[in-house]
Symmetry: D2
Subunit: 345 residues, 4 copies
């Protein structure tokens, strides 16, 4: 049994990690931190965990906790992560960081979209933790930068097309819609029940921080620099991201060919499910699970492809993908602990 720590266990991503880890056959949760709730049982803050774990939340005192786990998840905001991740690495621990701090290869780009970086020396070492794309590198890493939720849905949706040169990277428009859990658990007027329910809106139009992360990774797949339009929206639902991605075709291709391409590209992947041809995904069918479902439509009228992908933002978009990365880092079965069936209805 490997010992696992969660730094930042009382946010939605943190408790989602706990939900997955309490049922994981090969690891045990030995450390869970929370500044706000230090001293309380995690299961008193999140009564869904009652009877499943007795772990007590503690303050983040790295020297006290670093020795009590083999691998740490850092589920803290960006800028906080860069302040604590190095200490774990220096102590010989593996880290899956769920913040944005180690996702951007180029410190200048990071500093343009976020703020100054104080641990740049780790940027080149960190592996972008999308197992379907970077599995081999992840297995060898000690620091995995767990991808953002929006980028996961968009990159997995576009990868087969970009790898096969079917679409013009300059034409890509990603229109994404996220459930409200993506905004976290901070008390905030904007995410009150009454401000979200029975409403729909765009936010951060043209300047969301996931933009450079998406451009970096699809640029690698396309083997060229890419600039995209990306618009996130807030959906009155708890979990789920659905991305609708538009891309101009650079050659004639039939619907059947595209369907086959996705089936083939993802045939060995446990967590990517191309939809039955002619159908499209719904976030409802991945809720609570680590799946990414993808549908694709060739539109000969406009010579564009429309790709629709769906994930649970807290699972494949955060905690589930982090556990998948943990499994790879520790040499465990990649899908261990990730067998949760999507909850529908």
């Amino acid at each position: 049994m490997y010992k696992i720590g969660i730094v930042g266990a009382s946010g939605y991503t943190g408790v989602e990690l706990a939900r997955l880890l309490v049922n994981h056959p090969d690891v045990e949760l030995t450390v869970a931190t929370s500044r706000q709730y230090a001293g309380q049982k995690l299961s008193d803050v999140y009564p869904n965990l009652r009877g499943l774990t007795d772990i007590v939340l503690e303050d983040v005192v790295i020297e006290d906790l670093v020795g009590r786990a083999d691998l740490f998840f850092t589920a803290v905001p960006h800028q906080t992560a860069m302040n604590i991740v190095p200490a774990f690495l220096e102590a010989g621990k593996k880290v899956v960081d769920l913040s944005a701090d180690f996702r951007i290869d180029d410190a200048e780009v990071y500093e343009k979209w976020y703020q100054s970086h104080i641990a740049k020396e780790y940027l080149s070492e960190a592996v972008y933790g999308l197992p379907e794309i970077n599995r081999a590198k992840i297995k060898e890493a000690r620091l995995v930068a767990n991808p953002g939720c929006y980028p996961t849905s968009i990159i997995l949706g576009l990868a087969p097309l970009l790898k096969n040169g079917l679409v013009d990277p300059a034409s890509i428009i990603a229109d994404s819609k996220s459930g409200t859990s993506g905004a976290g658990r901070s008390a905030n007027t904007a995410t009150l029940y009454c401000e979200v329910t029975d409403g729909f809106k765009a936010y951060k139009v043209g300047d969301h921080r996931h933009t450079p992360e998406i451009e970096q990774e699809i640029g690698k797949l396309a083997a060229q620099g890419v600039t995209i339009s990306f618009t996130p929206h807030l959906v009155p639902m708890i979990r789920g991201i659905l991305s609708t991605v538009y891309a101009g075709l650079v050659k004639d291709v039939s619907q059947d060919e595209v369907d086959s391409l996705y089936q083939e590209f993802y045939k060995s992947e446990r967590f990517v499910r191309p939809c039955t041809p002619g159908t499209f995904p719904s976030t409802q069918f991945v809720r609570g699970s680590n799946y990414c479902d993808i549908g694709c439509k060739v539109d000969p009228r406009t010579k564009r492809l429309v790709i629709v992908s769906a994930i649970d933002n807290l699972v494949k978009g955060a905690a589930g993908q982090a556990v998948q990365n943990m499994n790879l880092l520790l040499g465990l079965e990649e899908s261990a602990g990730l067998g949760v069936v999507p909850l529908f209805p």
Copy 2:
């Protein structure tokens, strides 16, 4: 007091017409039909109207009802409308048809996307009822084709740009999201509470019937043929459409110039509200009202404009716009009966 009839009063659009008409100062509701609920009081089917109207639903027997109103709303499905609208016109009545049957100028296009048309002779006469664009023609008409909900949001969003030649019509992508009331009140597994809640999905990807209607009308504004990508999505909310529209800029333009353009273009329009610069609309702020709110972002990175527009699909997207058209047809104050303040929260 003008006498008004609603054919198809027990669907969501029909009862929304009734909601607006019971408070209208210049008209009275004298006819309301429903095959399913004939013989029942409308306020027993929709108890929100209890105490506000005693009208009894009746079956559609045109010769019995045609003499009892000056103007008829036909709030019935496409194909049904074309079977009844001519009778009203021939009896000298004015008609606002809320179906798709008289929106498409070209019968061939209609028949390609819908089914065969049996009243083609009225197509050239019907006026597309978007008052902000066609006000003068509506005032002279006897048959108004009330626009579709998605087209209303998209056309109003794009009109200032197309009229001023700022964007390339061939580049337009409209990604729209609608509340569930747009699917009507028919018993249908797909729109059950449990099939919609906490979920988000695209539907009719690449082949929604509003596509030719949008293309026709923005083609007129652009003064050229236009082919667009249009993807509708289903949002777990009752009311509201938000359209996010992407269009390539054909010249350099600043954010300020675009903001001013919208303010100027709509400065005399009571029901179109350009957002405060830097902010974007939410469907919550138009709920229950006849407003269309519009925000716009110039993205110099991608040389695209992103336009976001929001309406209540049952009001500006259907019944409210129909009442606005009725007011124009009858020579009343255009905003009469449409003073409902958006309900928030």
Copy 3:
């Protein structure tokens, strides 16, 4: 035109007052305060009001604003209200207070459930503002204590029974369910979208502060002291309260007799709608309106009556009732400005 001020205009109750007042034919909104948003336009904080009012929020400096209105709504938390209401009264203004501070006749009871009271001398003067029960007194008052949302639904539901001695007051159990807007607009983890959606819970079981208010008012109707069980619950909806009230019958009575009793008791009331016999209310059919809908079931098996009443907590449960009280205080038509049709769907 009377001039009206709202102290506390940026909470949900405050903006609901504004929604109603901008369409009121006989008053104009001249003062709107908000500590948090002072200096901003109300319509920038609540864009649903865009185009309907240009009023700018200001800080609460009583001597600056007291002369600029004839009547003030105080829509502030309890304890805050008692600190400002006297100043308005002393300046000769009328006040409708939406807090709990002047609802309880007995200062000792108030201090037991809330905290110490610093304006006790106004308690005997304040009139409990339930027009259907206290209309005559309200017309003569200068200070109206606007009822709580839960008490409004419960008292209106029970009044016909208590006035006619049909039920045993000691047997009353009120199980109430409220939408989330009742919790206000403060940033609070407990009312975040993700903490409320797809969930249902009881809160303040056995000790909610509306208990003594309900007991006081139904005690007056029953002409005896009353102790009740009252349990509030939080519903994943924005607006609405539904109260299910159980009361033991003290004599045999038929369903028809009870139905007739409610019809008769409320026959002159514009805002109370007994349901069609055999049907029960839903909060959906009062949404946005000032109605209270009531249904009643005689259960001969248990010799109990089950009364179900529904209101919109922000309208009949707060702002709408406050406007109704304002109309009475100013000698206006009681229903002026309250003609909003319930929004369904």
Copy 4:
């Protein structure tokens, strides 16, 4: 590996059984029937199951399928169940019936609340499948009548009190609230998204068919005949039942004593979780799981106890409890396949 059949696999209860069984270590799903979707893969009807089962739905031809499983779940409407259950029993199979047909001991009572019964000879044999109460009998049974969702929540909430004679059975009032999945997947106007969302209502006030089932089982616990008030309500949420139960105390008892009583009564039960004293359950904390959470409040003012219990209606209220019963019938670990952690948020 035991072979298991689901008769009625395409309703919400049926697919919930499938969700639990695909992850069960000791059984395999070999038969799944659906009249409506015969010939289709279950995972095409419910894409959440894609990649987890390839089972094809088939029509219900009992002689074709009876030999292909060791135990059958009958997840069909009442009256349908009584027509097929006997055939399975006569073929030597065990049955967990999820309908109401075998829950009521007394055929006369059944026929009064439902309709005539054609398999009365099995009523005395059927065991009421509430494992926490009837575990020993279930282990010996061949036919288990799986309890209704409302009764499960109410009986588990009251059992410790009734077994210990703390409350007056004649005083019991159960006010229950259910998510919409309890209404099933039939196309029905009343359960459309727009008819449920942002609304709350009571239904079947005074005459819901679960009443005699509750009275029968709590009568056994109280060792006397019991007549209760029971009012179900519809909550705008997918899953969950919360029951608020009021009962008059027959002796003085402290909050601590009651808290201890629940802890002790359920100390060996894996699936019943008394809440931390002072806290009450929410349906959110049991979502997707087989737990029943219970909180209790002694109210000395009214000399009543208020008991609040929460379950997921599709799991502990249906499919999960059925799997728990299956495990007992087959001699498996009682909690096998039921380790799903509640999904929050």
